[in-house]
């Protein structure tokens, strides 16, 4: 596949001067550039995006995500390296597109559209379609200052995607919208992607990235920390959120398993069985009662311990997750070297498909405080619909149906 965007040796530095005079002195050659402080926001980034690829970019605030998008969009120039973009690019950086608050939505669409390089005639022809997609009704003829941020986003997105671009860049913007519009925008993005648009998406929404993107990039401290399939990159990112830096990833049945934590306590064995103490099973029928038994061992004495698990579908979306903090089953204090068994019994009310279980052994309510062990893909199992009525979806919510004739 031909490449759509290629970044070679990209670096972006911002200079900070102690005072305006320091800059003046440097400009006039009276001081060396050492007087200013150079902050590298991105450094040594080499990336290649293929045509039709959808890439999600994740990372903490300040990791350089927005700067990367701005470099690709061409609104800021790299300090070193080069950016090459093939074809027409449409970028939705932050909110707006530079709308003027005193002008109506329609007037702003015209100006912003022209600013994107769409000729006036073409823009007027596109107007009804843009209006219909934004669905902001009579607000289109009211000044933008009375718009909610969601409405501004609707307008901006509708315009930015009015024509299919070769490259579409979306920075967070979609998170402002309501669920309805998000769904609608994702549908449009998918449609463009299928037609060959390269998509670059920055989002903190795991669901958004996993459902649309076929590749994810984790930026950390101005560099690419991970680049791969969304599930493994997001698992790694999630693990890196906790204070510990002990993260390992290895292959498990063709998928990447991420394990992180300080190792003060860990899950020795995880067994899914039909009865307590039964043998480990890999296939469960919808609605069947099962027991998930985790054996935890400690390396050091711990005041308090929380065990949690999450059941995820094939896309890595949580179906259900809970921990002993929320169930009100405190564990501890425990001595070093002790083993604890936690058994959780529940009906498997899931639809047919492959699921995975992630486990966590932590010190508090979340894994962010102190993470002993976080293990994605700790167990993979399959649910089959053995004896229930045929249904679609991930969750078994069988109804009782009554039908009556009214008059």
């Amino acid at each position: 596949m031909q490449s759509s965007i290629s970044l070679t040796g990209i670096g972006k530095a911002f200079r900070a001067y102690p005072s305006p005079y320091a800059r003046l002195r440097e400009w006039l050659g009276l001081a060396s550039s050492a007087s200013s402080e150079c902050t590298w926001v991105l450094r040594n980034v080499d990336l290649d995006f293929k045509r039709g690829e959808a890439v999600g970019i994740v990372g903490l605030n300040g990791a350089g995500k927005s700067t990367l998008l701005k470099l690709i969009a061409g609104v800021t120039q790299p300090t070193e390296g080069s950016v090459e973009v093939a074809g027409k690019l449409s970028a939705l950086l932050e909110l707006g597109l530079g709308f003027h608050p005193d002008f109506t939505g329609r007037q702003n669409l015209l100006t912003a559209g022209q600013l994107m390089g769409i000729p006036l005639g073409r823009l007027e022809a596109l107007m009804p379609e843009i209006e219909a997609f934004a669905e902001i009704g009579a607000y289109i003829d009211r000044p933008v200052r009375v718009y909610s941020s969601g409405m501004q986003m609707r307008l901006a997105f509708s315009l930015a995607t009015a024509e299919q671009p070769d490259v579409l860049i979306v920075d967070e913007a979609l998170s402002v919208g309501d669920a309805y519009f998000q769904q609608k925008s994702f549908d449009r993005i998918r449609q463009y992607k299928a037609a060959g648009t390269t998509l670059i998406l920055v989002s903190h929404d795991r669901f958004a990235i996993q459902s649309i993107c076929d590749r994810a990039i984790l930026l950390q401290a101005g560099g690419v920390a991970r680049d791969g399939d969304p599930e493994s990159v997001l698992d790694y990112y999630n693990a890196s959120l906790s204070a510990t830096q002990n993260i390992t990833q290895h292959d498990k049945d063709g998928r990447t398993q991420t394990v992180s934590g300080d190792g003060a306590a860990w899950v020795v064995s995880l067994i899914l069985s039909q009865d307590d103490n039964g043998p480990d099973i890999e296939v469960v029928a919808t609605g069947e009662w099962v027991t998930l038994t985790a054996t935890i061992e400690t390396r050091e004495a711990l005041e308090e311990l929380v065990f949690g698990y999450a059941i995820r579908n094939r896309l890595g979306q949580d179906m259900y997750g809970i921990n002993t903090f929320h169930t009100g089953d405190p564990i501890g204090p425990i001595d070093a070297g002790e083993q604890i068994k936690v058994a959780c019994r529940f009906p498997m009310n899931l639809g047919a498909g492959e699921y995975s279980i992630a486990t966590a052994v932590v010190a508090g309510e979340t894994h962010l405080e102190r993470n002993h062990e976080w293990c994605d893909l700790a167990k993979i199992f399959t649910v089959i619909n053995a004896n229930k009525k045929a249904f679609t979806g991930c969750v078994w919510l069988e109804p009782e149906v009554t039908v009556e004739v009214v008059q």
Partner: protein, 265 residues
């Protein structure tokens, strides 16, 4: 490269026209009189100077014969000065004012100065048309020599935008530049023979004034409108040379500091 820029600008012609119109609308958006304010401002200025200098102070202003001569002299100078100062002042803040767009959208940056000049020329055109009407009514309209005004106006706009953009780039980094320039403009106005004729100045000052490009431009326009003769082309050629050099300096500064400016906004 030049050709590339020209095509880029051509592609954005709709945007440029719309921006000029929008700028115009914004200025008068919530005012009842609207565009009439464009005329009221310079008219007020001209009335004040005409009354204060020729009537109240009875200034010794030689060589004006006819009842309207001084007013015409004043109008010519103020019109051209307003064209210069409006373009230069606007260009000086254009990057700061458009920071929102510059940070979000990638478009040919050359559009911005074109919009600034376009706006300046339109306002100028409105007032100039009224002024021309006044001249026609009083029978003072110059004939064929009026054509000489076109290069004078073009040169004024060119000098203004080159200077304004140079200051505009510096202004992003050093905000003092903006304040400094507004002060300089006040002195500059009085160092240009607009309200008074150059002939009232001592000989030494008259020599120095030749170094003021605005004085050359204004005096050339006054020659055309009042004496109704062709201006001193040699002096204007000198202003042209200054404008060319200034443009080169501005372009160089933009090429060197443009990317950094983008980050500073």
């Amino acid at each position: 490269m030049v050709r590339q820029h020209v095509t880029a600008i051509y592609d954005y012609k709709d945007f440029i026209f719309a921006s000029i119109r929008r700028e115009f609308e914004v200025t008068y958006l919530n005012s009842a009189l609207g565009a009439i304010w464009t005329i009221i401002h310079p008219l007020a200025l001209i009335t004040i100077y005409a009354v204060v200098f020729s009537k109240i102070m009875q200034a010794r202003l030689p060589a004006f014969d006819g009842p309207y001569a001084y007013s015409v002299y004043l109008c010519t100078g103020i019109l051209l000065w307003t064209l210069f100062s409006e373009i230069a002042l606007k260009a000086q803040v254009v990057f700061i004012e458009q920071a929102n767009l510059l940070k979000k959208v990638n478009f040919p940056r050359l559009c911005l100065p074109i919009v600034v000049v376009g706006n300046g020329l339109i306002r100028f055109g409105i007032i100039a048309a009224i002024f021309a009407g006044f001249l026609a009514l009083t029978g003072l309209l110059p004939g064929l020599v009026a054509l000489a005004l076109l290069p004078i106006i073009a040169l004024t706009a060119w000098f203004a935008i080159a200077l304004g953009l140079w200051l505009g780039i510096l202004n992003v980094f050093f905000r003092d530049v903006g304040h400094f320039f507004s002060v300089v403009l006040q002195f500059w106005f009085w160092l240009t023979p607009i309200v008074y004729p150059a002939s009232v100045l001592p000989d030494r000052a008259q020599e120095l004034i030749a170094f003021n490009p605005l004085a050359t431009l204004v005096m050339a326009a006054q020659t055309v409108v009042l004496q109704q003769t062709w201006p001193d082309w040699r002096a204007l050629a000198w202003v042209l040379a200054i404008a060319v050099v200034l443009s080169a300096v501005t372009v160089r500064l933009y090429l060197r500091r443009g990317p950094e400016m983008q980050d500073e906004l």
